[in-house]
């Protein structure tokens, strides 16, 4: 059987259906753009730094010889030259730090590329090294999977897990009915136990009060049929217009200036990067915004639907963490 191009596309898209570019990644790019983070230290730069170090060492040797010239009757070749070679400290890039951190977690806790793949990494470079944390999102509950923190200080790497204080008897082996999920539980959760893991995550999130009722926002009760992902079309209002309408909705609902409100990560709450297009089976098209607002009294999780044809507010729902 010959494989046509579109069949290969379908095969890849099917096998990698869970690999999706999402707003988290968009946000990461925009943050890096604004923070002026170096994308990656190029090998050429590292080589240049290493060469500079070698030149420095050679200069030290030369200075040592100049400051201690050999006696005229001394054979230079037999004269020992005592000098100190200064090691060249080339800081790790973020990518290198994450690589090393992954390996440290895999070695210490037995995680594999597959199970570690469900964790999102966050890297902070420090003066003496770096700190990388791994935390899950999505179907694997982050409380159960815990947070892995790997720290490199002055060349020494240590790895820790937020469940280190839990007796291994309580999490090693067995099913998902455990207080913490290690390698075995994660592997099971990614395979035959995926439905069970998803249900557990939903249940815990519901208890936490973290989730707004997205089933309601995108479900049949509101629209008559579920909303599905859609692409912007001709005739839709521009996303900027939808953002303006969403801003006005925030103003009216909360009495706040959206420009003065930030999400829990300190970013503006309404940007094109976080706009999603949805369409119901009956053809209703909406721009959906789901900002999280960090207000003095509480954290608010908001869902705003702006009609993509008329620009009118269709729905605004919100929930809080209940900290207020």
């Amino acid at each position: 059987m010959r494989t046509e191009r579109n069949e290969f596309q379908q095969l890849v898209d099917h096998q990698l259906a869970n690999v999706q570019w999402d707003h988290r990644m968009t946000g990461a790019v925009l943050r890096k753009l604004h923070q002026q983070e170096p994308v990656r230290r190029t090998p050429a730069l590292r080589i240049a730094l290493a060469c500079a170090g070698v030149v420095l060492c050679l200069a030290l040797v030369a200075l040592s010889i100049l400051n201690n010239p050999p006696a005229p009757d001394t054979v230079v070749a037999t004269q020992p030259v005592h000098t100190t070679l200064v090691p060249v400290q080339v800081p790790d890039t973020r990518a290198e730090a994450v690589f090393q951190a992954r390996q440290a977690v895999m070695e210490k806790y037995g995680l594999t590329l597959r199970t570690l793949g469900v964790f999102l990494d966050d890297c902070q470079l420090t003066d003496t090294g770096w700190v990388v944390t791994f935390e899950t999102s999505g179907q694997i509950n982050h409380h159960l999977a815990g947070v892995y923190t790997v720290e490199k200080q002055n060349g020494s790497i240590t790895a820790a897990w937020s469940h280190d204080d839990v007796d291994p008897v309580l999490w090693a082996g067995g099913t998902l009915n455990r207080v913490a999920w290690g390698q075995e539980q994660l592997l099971y959760a990614l395979g035959e136990g995926s439905s069970e893991a998803f249900a557990i995550n939903q249940e815990i999130n519901a208890i936490d009060g973290f989730t707004i009722n997205y089933d309601y926002i995108e479900g049949t009760e509101l629209w008559g049929d579920p909303l599905a992902n859609a692409d912007p079309q001709e005739g839709d209002i521009p996303v900027e217009e939808a953002i303006a309408a969403a801003r006005e909705a925030i103003r009216q609902q909360f009495g706040l200036d959206p420009d003065q409100v930030y999400n829990t990560e300190g970013e503006p709450i309404l940007t094109a990067a976080y706009a999603q297009m949805r369409q119901s089976a009956s053809g209703i098209r909406v721009w959906l915004f789901t900002p999280a607002m960090d207000l003095p009294d509480d954290e608010y999780y908001v869902a705003i639907c702006i009609n993509a044809r008329t620009g009118e507010l269709e729905r605004l729902e919100y929930t809080t963490l209940g900290n207020g």
Binding site: M1, R2, T3, E4, R5, N6, F8, Q9, L11, V12, D13, H14, Q15, L16, A17, N18, V19, Q20, W21, M25, T26, A28, V29, L30, K32, L33, H34, Q36, V39, R40, T42, P43, A95, E96, V98, F99, R102, T112, L113, R114, L116, G117, D121, L190, G191, S194, A272, A273
Partner: protein, 171 residues
């Protein structure tokens, strides 16, 4: 150098990310054999693209331009010491589970594409996954269309020998 953060340019970047993010991520995942690393690579790709937005000519293929940056970014990643000293052969079990039961009789074709030599893999991914024309693939890889054709032929020869029934139709 301070990047130009004007709203127009940022809007273009956001559109590129929306339009090409997922397909780039999947392509880089196969190319790099690592989904987390592919995320880094695609983020780097978009940052590079942003800085080179002025290079994007109206008459050039936006997709080919972006794919070219992505392929070069992946090459940088593949050149790192970490890659050279690590066994990057990845089986399907390391990929995320498909969203539902596979309808495909034999999904090992992806694994076999992953195991192709880098140059052949690049050509196959651009041609057969991204669906680019030979000319576009040639532009993205900075080689001639005939070289692209040669690489695809070689890839097909390898795949035919490894896969009983699957190979690409370049006719």
């Amino acid at each position: 150098m301070q990047p130009d953060l004007t709203p127009d340019r940022q809007a273009v970047l956001e559109r590129l990310m929306t339009q090409y993010g997922t397909t780039l991520l999947r392509m880089c995942s196969i190319h790099l054999h690592d989904i987390s690393l592919a995320e880094d690579a695609v983020q780097d790709t978009f940052l590079k693209a942003y800085k080179r937005l002025d290079d994007l000519r109206d008459d050039s293929s936006e997709r080919a331009w972006l794919m070219s940056i992505a392929i070069n970014t992946c090459r940088d990643y593949l050149r790192t010491a970490w890659f050279r000293h690590t066994d990057r052969r990845v089986s399907l079990e390391l990929l995320p589970e498909p969203s539902c039961e596979s309808i495909w009789p034999d999904a090992t074709v992806i694994t076999e594409v992953m195991s192709l030599p880098q140059k052949l893999r690049e050509a196959v991914l651009l041609r057969y996954y991204q669906g680019m024309k030979l000319k576009e693939v040639a532009e993205a890889l900075h080689i001639s269309p005939s070289t692209v054709k040669q690489r695809l032929d070689r890839a097909n020869t390898i795949l035919r020998s490894r896969l009983e029934r699957w190979y690409f139709n370049e006719d």
